[in-house]
């Protein structure tokens, strides 16, 4: 009894120590983000002060500018482009992911490698020919052009990750239903799809986030009328200087919805981001 008390105390000290270490590092890591958040309400003059001004009278001036500068239309563009491309990805990609997980097919591994390659290809290598093609067929600066371009990395990503989820759905259930005489497509709709829901939702969410955060395609293929948030933010860098308060507001508000979804789906998100290498 007497020997076990010091050991328990030592273990307790270990818990406190490691907790403080982990918490301390995490908070330090997020200090830049917190600092950026304070700039949302920091008066312009005090942002550039030397020495650094830590305490200040908050102002709402930056919010007014953001509302006037047409960021709401960029927000709408971002939602349309990311939303439509994600919807397409789910529609086209879900059956493919299932088929890759279940069926023996001619050169399946090669086809799958092709999918991985489109996911991995550097955007700059794709965007150059796409730009030239778009210029010819009139897809530059259109919603459709961007939505199609996002299919390159998102469709391949979605199929790759969802396949790993599909492999977790027990084949036995489907086989039982087939023996009962249900047609294949009904088995797929009524049995497999409901069990795949977490996989579909989290892979779709990640596709949405990738499209939401994407800059290079949006910048090169979009432009004046189709301007997503990541492209609109750098326009706050003006000849007169950078509107930092506004940058902070748009940057932080673009991040918030993403975080909200990610927190609720944590486990599945990790699996998606590691391309299925971690099973949640």
């Amino acid at each position: 009894m007497s020997a076990s008390i010091p050991r328990a105390a030592r273990a307790q000290r270990g818990v406190v120590l490691f907790t403080l270490l982990a918490l301390g590092c995490t908070i330090t890591l997020l200090l830049p983000v917190a600092w950026m958040a304070t700039m949302m309400v920091k008066p312009e003059a005090e942002m550039f002060a030397r020495p650094t001004v830590w305490l200040f009278e908050p102002t709402l001036a930056h919010f007014e500018y953001v509302l006037e500068a047409g960021f709401l239309s960029s927000l709408a563009t971002s939602l349309v482009v990311a939303g439509a491309s994600t919807a397409l990805v789910v529609l086209i990609g879900t059956p493919a992911a299932y088929a890759f997980a279940r069926f023996e097919m001619w050169r399946r591994d090669d086809m799958f490698l092709f999918i991985l390659a489109t996911r991995m290809a550097p955007p700059v290598a794709l965007v150059i020919p796409l730009y030239l093609i778009y210029a010819k067929v009139g897809l530059l600066d259109t919603h459709l052009g961007l939505i199609l371009a996002y299919l390159t990395f998102n469709l391949s990503f979605y199929v790759w990750v969802l396949r790993s989820f599909c492999r977790d759905v027990p084949v036995e259930l489907e086989e039982a239903a087939l023996i009962e005489g249900y047609p294949r497509w009904q088995v797929l709709l009524k049995i497999t799809l409901p069990m795949l829901r977490p996989g579909i939702v989290s892979s779709a969410v990640l596709s949405f986030i990738f499209a939401w955060n994407e800059f290079l395609y949006a910048f090169m293929l979009g432009g004046r009328t189709v301007k997503t948030l990541p492209v609109a933010i750098p326009t706050l860098i003006t000849a007169q200087g950078v509107k930092w308060g506004e940058v902070a507001i748009v940057g932080i508000s673009a991040l918030l919805p993403v975080l909200l979804v990610v927190f609720t789906l944590q486990r599945y998100i990790v699996r998606g981001l590691t391309l299925g290498a971690v099973k949640g």
Binding site: T19, A22, C25, T26, L29, L30, P32, V33, M36, F48, R50, P51, T52, I92, P95, A96, Y98, F103, E104, M105, M111, L113, F114, I115, A117, M120, A121, P122, P123, V124, A125, I128, P129, L130, L132, I133, A135, L151, T152, L155, S156, S164, N213, F215, L216, P230, A248, A254, L255, L259, V262, F263, R267, I269, V270, R271, T274, A277, V278, K279
Partner: protein, 311 residues
């Protein structure tokens, strides 16, 4: 020696997934993959083939001119600028990825101890990873701006690393600042992934090792590392590929400068189109990069799938 073999076979056991029976010879499968394959051929393969076509021609003012064979490739490969951009990417990847890997593993091990508040810490770690890279770039501009940047003024100037200028204006330091940003953004994700991997490890090998009186270090080297191998390999390869493609932060913070000190391949590709308007060379560039990545992907796939059974 025997115990090493033993832990390896344990690792293999843990990795084999439950039996997967596949349905044979069905047209249903082809029907299901057809839309995806057609889409990817149209948005992926067609541009690639078009890039090959363009790269073999002279392209004055955006119009495809006469066939010039491999001269675009020659112009690109004989130009030191291309190789310099590859070098920049190699330095970037070679420094950033090992740091992210080691810090990620250490962080995951700390997180895997008995600690409190894990429910607060893990979600916070998602924040940098989920930020749009363009916002990350601006965030670090706020940190490292000349004269008023939070870190510039309060840390770098005190340490006499810069004086009222930005690190992004220094040919020696700019690349390291960009590496720091990459480390900041991706280390937390490495931590989360490795932590998830640690959590998924089977307990039995550890119990057996404890009975045999193994030390924590022995357990880490002989059980944890072999079992984590597939995940570690996938994460490192993924990061290498993604870090090689870095564009947003460079575009916004240095534009490839000063001079071309931070000009990564993506940055060079962008400039070939929009600054130099050399579309033929840009297409040749795209083809070379693409072939390079395809080879890399193939190796990645073979290793991850056949040797490590990671997917």
């Amino acid at each position: 020696m025997a115990s090493i073999l033993n832990s390896e076979s344990l690792a293999r056991d843990a990795r084999t997934t439950p039996s997967r029976r596949r349905t044979k010879g069905s047209h249903f499968g082809y029907l299901l993959i057809a839309p995806t394959m057609i889409t990817l051929v149209v948005v992926g393969l067609v541009p690639f083939l078009y890039a090959i076509y363009i790269s073999l021609h002279d392209v004055p003012y955006g119009r495809v001119g006469e066939f010039t064979g491999l001269s675009n490739y020659r112009a690109l490969l004989w130009d030191g600028r291309f190789w310099h951009s590859v070098w920049v990417a190699l330095v970037f990847v070679g420094i950033a990825v090992p740091i992210e890997f080691v810090l990620g593993m250490l962080g995951a091990l700390v997180l895997n101890q008995k600690i409190k508040l894990r429910g607060v810490i893990v979600p916070m770690l998602f924040v940098p990873t989920m930020m749009a890279p363009i916002v990350v770039a601006l965030l670090w501009k706020i940190m490292l701006a000349g004269s008023w940047g939070l870190i510039s003024y309060n840390v770098l100037e005190r340490l006499k690393i810069v004086s009222e200028t930005s690190v992004f204006g220094s040919a020696d330091l700019a690349l390291y600042a960009l590496i720091l940003i990459d480390v900041w953004q991706w280390t937390p994700f490495m931590i989360i992934a490795f932590y998830a991997g640690l959590q998924a490890l089977p307990l039995n090998p550890y119990r057996a090792a404890q009975v045999d009186g193994a030390s924590p270090l022995q357990m880490f080297v002989r059980i944890t590392l072999p079992l984590m191998m597939p995940l570690m390999a996938v994460m490192v390869l993924l990061r290498i590929i993604d870090a090689f493609k870095v564009f947003d932060t460079i575009f916004l913070l240095t534009g490839g400068g000063p001079g071309n000190a931070t000009e990564s391949p993506s940055m060079l590709g962008y400039k070939l189109v929009f600054e130099f308007w050399k579309l033929g060379e840009a297409s040749a560039f795209a083809v070379i990069i693409w072939v390079l990545f395809f080879v890399f992907c193939n190796v990645f796939y073979q290793i991850a799938k056949n040797r490590l059974k990671a997917f």
